[in-house]
Chain length 447, copies 2
């Protein structure tokens, strides 16, 4: 333990010693000298709460508790670092730490997305900082970029690959022509997907992160309850191959955009032109593109998960707090959601209210005139066909007597597309439900 | 002009109303409300120095001077923004502003790269901030990423496309198969290249920026005098086509890397695998890849120049200073080169001391055994050939009786390669000087 006076030390209480907690402990203990060289202050872990106490912690002179609340109550702790995840007891713990005048650093995206408004309000009242860079996109300093680096910009939109598991699965499906269940199983064996993969592959994890990004981009409250979420489990290798033939890749994107009608906030598989840099972000990597009115499009790329990358952002938050002066209790120097005053005049749009171009894959019986019929339905709803792929049936299609037809449509209101798809599905010639994937052109909707 | 008390106002003096100065003025005046919403403080331009005074400035209630030093002497200015460029009078002006206790924001990469050490020392003594995000990579918040976002990392290396003009010319040469002089001329007509393009195409501008990036990455003094600089004017469309055949793109990169021998600091055309994300950064866009020990590789992409993108970073620096509290005169909260104490134990390596793989293009007379002779020379110096392209001669080669031979070599010390190339050039069979382009594999040299 350091011998500096308390003025020169930032005393850290660490709650949770799982993957990220272990990485943070390792980073802070092995790199203390270099961090001190950066900060001019020692970052000392003085208290750890873990259910699996370890002799090496005691050797470091670190106090150990089984009860995480001991850390929040310890007057010798300046900052509580919450790396347990989940809602309980994390929420209660964070609120108690704030109540006791401690700064908080957390990697808990679910906690911030769902309970952030309450947490930030409590922090504002006590004048402490709540920092969460590690909650979004792992080692990429994207929150800092939005809140500080791009602070001179009105953000028009942002779009990101913010779940490494989904991106890994889509990349593998595309490169190795293997279907979702098989790739998922392998990803689980490799440790890239959890035993229960729902959070990742159904888009919930990405939805937490996008909620946080949108709040920072537009200066609005966190509104996780209003986000549209769709995962990758229904994407097929056939869709990936058709998209490629049309010059697109399928990526699981979080998209948020300010439009004259309100704010789009949506997570779903998306066709992206192969010429976009983000279309070439593969494997477990993350990337976020931000369109600002002054800076234009900027992109931030890196590892979105893992013990080391996430710990990098946890410790960056600690360094920020140390540099601002640990005794700074103004707390609001840099507002937690990038703005001093949040806007309340912007509504989150229902998904039915967004406009998009669409990829449609329709399984139709191989009869004369079926394409004409489908085209007519689309025309009736003001939808143009921009590109078509129709091939000779083979495999399962040949047995069923069906033929797959793939269309790219013009831009249209989602609820109009819903109706058009309903009509198409009701045609006698159409064998199955229509697959619909949104296409993202990264356009602005404001002047 | 705002009516807030001086406590709630940051009073800005702007020196220079060229492209970036005009953009900054526009940004600050048109977006005052949104910036105030972010900062909780008004950013007011109270004084402008320009040789072309404009009636609209007077309407805004802004004081106008022809003499920039008036701004540095004005007690009602909290921050001096230097957007004139060049060394004189910028250096004297910045030092006077610091002496008078003003914070300084500058976009002047040459000034920081060459005189930064003196400027930062003066700022340290007076406890003021000197911020220069806009000096490197325009609207991309790369200085902030290095200094804050990645502060928990030991940086192993970074590599960047940091001159938009060079990247535009190389992109056009590759896509349109047109040679350097022709593309340069067109770039000048489009305003992407200056009338005197030396600064951009000979790599000097990139060298200024890389000097600044390296100092922030490793916590060393600015050492522009030790950088190795090579521009793009000798690259041919043939080189670009051969590189492509081998799976590479030619990019003008700034590379800095910590090795057991010292620090590499070099700017030159570089072969980069087409599978690297940075190989796909085209046109005037910039991108920097940073390898940190915790975060891994992260990449930052965006517009590297232009009035709006650069103004975005100028104003971001102003917002940082405002958020920290304009009356903060500790100055050293976030050190100007990312570290409280700079390292003096790291030498900048001479280019002859670096190791690299190489692309060699050799124009040889079309005789039996010439490849064997060249191979033997390389073998004598411990250099392996990893790939070869040799084609039937045509065009000018056919007339001269020469044949172009293209080789990719194994990794070797640059000074050994210098000798081997000298020997090859002395062979009777070799018609011309050898073209040598370094290949970057983005490897670490430290464990």
């Amino acid at each position: 333990m350091s011998q500096e006076s308390d003025k020169q030390r930032l005393r850290i209480g660490l709650c949770g010693l799982g993957t990220v907690g272990g990485g943070t402990l390792r980073l802070l203990t092995t790199k203390q000298a270099e961090i001190t060289r950066r900060v001019g202050m020692t970052l000392d872990i003085v208290h750890v709460a873990t259910r699996r106490p370890d002799a090496s912690l005691q050797e470091l002179g670190i106090r150990i508790s089984q009860d995480v609340f001991d850390v929040a109550r310890n007057p010798d702790v300046d900052i509580l670092v919450e790396l347990m995840g989940g809602f309980e007891p994390a929420l209660e713990l964070v609120l108690l730490a704030i109540e006791n005048g401690k700064h908080v650093v957390t990697a808990n995206k679910a906690l911030i997305a769902v309970h952030g408004n309450v947490i930030f309000e409590a922090a504002r009242k006590k004048g402490v900082v709540v920092a969460y860079e590690s909650a979004v996109a792992g080692g990429i300093p994207i929150i800092k970029a939005l809140r500080e680096g791009l602070a001179a910009n009105s953000i028009h939109w942002l779009a990101g690959i913010i779940n490494g598991t989904s991106n890994y699965i889509l990349t593998e499906m595309g490169e190795r022509k293997r279907d979702f269940p098989e790739v998922l199983k392998e990803a689980q064996q490799l440790g890239y997907a959890e035993a229960d993969p729902t959070f990742d592959v159904e888009g919930i994890d990405a939805a937490h992160k996008l909620t946080i990004l949108a709040a920072n981009a537009f200066g609005i409250a966190l509104q996780f309850e209003k986000i549209y979420t769709e995962g990758i489990s229904k994407i097929t290798t056939a869709d990936i191959a058709y998209a490629e033939e049309l010059g697109y890749r399928i990526k699981h994107l979080g998209i948020t955009r300010i439009t004259p009608k309100g704010i789009e906030l949506r997570v779903h598989p998306t066709l992206v032109s192969e010429r976009q840099l983000i279309a070439n972000v593969n494997g477990v990597m993350n990337a976020v593109v931000v369109k600002g009115d002054s800076a234009g499009s900027t992109l931030y790329y890196g590892a979105g998960a893992g013990a080391n990358a996430t710990a990098s952002s946890v410790v960056a938050d600690l360094i920020d707090i140390a540099r601002a002066g640990k005794d700074d209790r103004t707390g609001s120097v840099i507002p937690p959601l990038a703005f001093s005053n949040l806007r309340t005049d912007l509504e989150i749009l229902d998904i039915s209210e967004i406009e998009s171009e669409y990829y449609l894959r329709i399984s139709a019986y191989d009869r004369v005139g079926v394409m004409a019929k489908i085209s007519q339905v689309l025309t009736n709803y003001g939808i143009n066909i921009e590109a078509v792929i129709q091939k000779e049936p083979h495999g399962a299609d040949l047995e069923k007597g069906t033929v797959p037809m793939v269309l790219l449509t013009s831009r249209i209101l989602e609820k109009t597309m819903d109706i058009a798809i309903g009509v198409i599905e009701s045609l006698d010639e159409v064998a199955d439900s229509v697959t619909r994937i949104r296409v993202e052109l990264f356009n602005d909707e404001i002047a």
